[in-house]
Symmetry: C2
Subunit: 478 residues, 2 copies
């Protein structure tokens, strides 16, 4: 007899979105809290999602000529301090190593909050001629930022990320790299994670400490809050000058290279949860799902069912999918709920009657739609359903973003729209910090970005009435 195992319940997102989110993180076994305050553990299922993200992104980076390296995790304070803006931006969040073994260190060492300084220090040592350029590096690692409040994936004292760091002969090449990597992120979000994004430029207030320009891909979660997906920075030659990175140019004179950096983190898993999840749990985009298809035999004690299910599993595995068959003695109800919680994109059910009819049933996680398919068409049908799932997920997320993007022509209207609907509020803007601060303090919204695709909504800044320079998105962000 099937053992009745309790199906774990999660809070409805309409009741308490934050609790719903935490419930998924725990019940889908993505993360667990550690004994170190503010730190999290990526459990096998959560880490497997991250691994899939890494594999795909790493391939994209390598295709455009980037190479992976490993830099030291500790940065001497004096090195970190050479560039003033960067250190001011990160100093309040740095964890310091002050003891090595039983000895007090002469100089304390920062656990990297980001590695621009180490890369510059390395380039200072190895860069010689324009022939060595560009240097296109990337690093997969964890960093620490000593945050006060933390939430799984979204804000954690330690998080896992990739940080790309490049130097180029000319400003134009470095700018092109910054834009290329932004497009790479947009591509990854939209075509892999099925999350639509608004690519744009950050305001000076919101840009990365020390950068000349920061670009971002902004997403909208199901609760209509904004989430910064990934960022790409252009530094000009500011760090080169601070760290004395030089090369002999084509004119035989010493020159400073131009620099970029770009990063994306495990917070993308948070974005996936809050973009696609529902009250039954996680909904994973097929390309990053650790299990893409789960095969569940129905009435598996009946003759031939288990063998048939195993053969379906094998065929789907041979077709290149990540497949699991669950022939445990848990009930069918529990199994369905379990794989829904874990967000497995496609479920294949096959019981005695299906087999008699030479068919099986495919169930899409995203909308629960069932399709009966002939056994001989399994591979094609599964591929179609997974592609369709990806499409439906993207379109739903896009609709959520489009339906919740509002145009405002006064601070009051912007504020009211945000309070009533949430989402992105787009307005014109004069580019002054004053107006940005006013929107923050009175409207309760931070600037998200100045979209690359600009629209003309009017001639004046709705906050101060002065001539407008840019169209900008505002929102409440994670």
């Amino acid at each position: 007899m099937a053992k009745e195992k309790k199906v774990e319940q999660i809070t409805d997102m309409e009741v308490d979105f934050a609790q719903w989110y935490t419930d998924i993180c725990r019940k889908a076994e993505l993360v667990e809290y550690a004994s170190v305050k503010g730190f999290t553990i990526l459990r096998p299922y959560g880490y497997a999602i991250w691994e899939n993200m890494q594999n795909i992104m790493d391939g994209m980076f390598k295709k455009t000529g980037h190479q992976n390296v490993a830099m030291p995790v500790l940065i001497p304070e004096s090195l970190l301090k050479k560039e003033g803006e960067l250190v001011n931006g990160f100093a309040p969040e740095v964890a310091w190593v002050t003891m090595g073994g039983s000895e007090k260190l002469e100089e304390r060492l920062a656990f990297r909050p980001t590695s621009e300084t180490m890369f510059c220090d390395h380039w200072h040592n190895v860069l010689q001629s324009y022939r060595d350029l560009p240097m296109l590096y990337n690093q997969w690692c964890s960093v620490i930022r000593w945050e006060k409040t933390t939430r799984p994936f979204l804000r954690s004292r330690e998080f896992w990320w990739q940080e790309g760091h490049t130097i180029h002969e000319t400003a134009e090449e470095a700018q092109a790299e910054t834009e290329q990597q932004l497009r790479c992120y947009a591509d990854f979000f939209e075509n892999v994670l099925a999350i639509p994004v608004v690519p744009g430029r950050k305001t000076d207030k919101e840009k990365f400490a020390g950068a000349e320009a920061t670009y971002t891909v902004e997403c909208m979660m199901k609760d209509r809050k904004a989430l910064q997906g990934a960022t790409s920075h252009y530094f000009g030659d500011k760090f080169s000058r601070a760290y004395d990175v030089t090369f002999t140019g084509r004119d035989n004179k010493l020159q400073y290279p131009f620099q970029t950096s770009w990063g994306s983190t495990t917070r993308m898993i948070g974005a996936v949860i809050m973009t696609h999840g529902d009250n039954n749990g996680l909904v994973l985009p097929p390309k990053v799902a650790p299990i893409q298809i789960v095969v569940l035999p129905i009435a598996q004690h009946k003759e031939g069912v288990l063998e048939a299910a195993a053969s379906l599993k094998q065929r789907l595995t041979d077709a290149g999918w990540r497949v699991k068959m669950d022939d445990s003695d848990n009930s069918m109800g529990w199994k369905c709920a379990q794989y829904e919680m874990k967000g497995v994109p496609l479920r294949v059910e096959c019981g005695p009657r299906d087999l008699e009819n030479g068919q099986c049933v495919l169930v899409r996680r995203v909308d629960g739609e069932k399709v009966t398919v002939k056994l001989e068409e399994l591979e094609t049908a599964a591929a179609e359903q997974l592609e369709l799932a990806q499409k439906i997920m993207y379109e739903r997320a896009l609709k959520n973003m489009q339906d919740n993007t509002y145009e405002a022509h006064s601070l009051e209207e912007a504020k009211q729209l945000q309070q009533e609907h949430g989402g992105f509020i787009k307005t014109m803007w004069c580019e002054s910090l004053e107006c940005e601060m006013k929107m923050k303090e009175e409207g309760g919204m931070s600037s998200r970005c100045m979209p690359l695709k600009q629209e003309h909504l009017g001639d004046t800044c709705p906050i101060c009435g002065k001539p407008a320079k840019k169209m900008i998105y505002w929102g409440i962000a994670y």
Copy 2:
């Protein structure tokens, strides 16, 4: 005209082995020193070797059911101290974080020197029933051990590694896991890195702090010194008890699981350099070489040569190899020296005369042997040459190890053999710490391992004359 670029020279290994080693590390662009004392940077070429090692090992681990996770990098002192032997073993080498932002921490946090404690803490929280067992985890990360003297890859304050951690229902299962992972390492060393190993058990003196038993694969370098390749540990239920990790057993009673851990590090790159390298530089085993085949067009300005070389490159790439074509304007002499320095296993040369004759020349890095092959047989010939290169590398290393393993029947003889020849000295042993210390102090050798394949060399311990229990290997180790 071809530009004459200077070929970098390295010290001959017969003149100064240590300097030869460091020269290769630098000139093959594997590592660079960082501004942080005792820390190194893995440069793109060095990191690419590590990535290839990671990919292959990770596949091996996953095939036997292991899952990757990410644990916090910082460990509270109180947590680290719960198991006395472990903390005593590692305390002198721990780097401590004492400040977070501008605040002094209430409890200092250790940068992980190894993660047994974090895994136990996690299992304490999540393990419930025997149905959850085994838990087979692995983590790829960096660790810090505050060493006094450092050398690239061999001893560095930060190094990159994988640490496997598993818990099991029974002691037998955990012991089997320990042995399985040791065999996995032996397989990786012999069949991937082309490095023969002596698998065996460490003495109590040399075992991992807190382990009940430590197993190792020991290798011999070209200077006849020993290098510990990778280790696999059995903990019994010692840590489970110290960290209160329990599960409900089949008898419905609370039980302690049995634990293992096993690790291998970037020092394997050091082992590759010192096992296979020669006075022209690095010699890489084909399976981990970032570039497996380099195609060099001869007289590339002549009509058709570049196109032909490009087509060879494409064919070899399509056959699944990692291939580079170098059509830069550097001289042929410089290019050959450069790719020899970098240890590229196979060079393909093609010039106008070769093309006229419908052939090209393959040159093996390991012994410089040249083979002329018909163009249409390129793929088969390349595969054969790479397989042959792997075989030659392994056999040469095996011969070095066999030729330099000596049998001794007294401490004096052991000492003399070591002084005259270096290498492994095998003797019988009574298993007393006293005799082990005596061999260390008077013979200048540490115990390497008690090989799994035991031989009977006599009945008594040659050091104290008491009855012998084991055959043991001694050597001078990195």
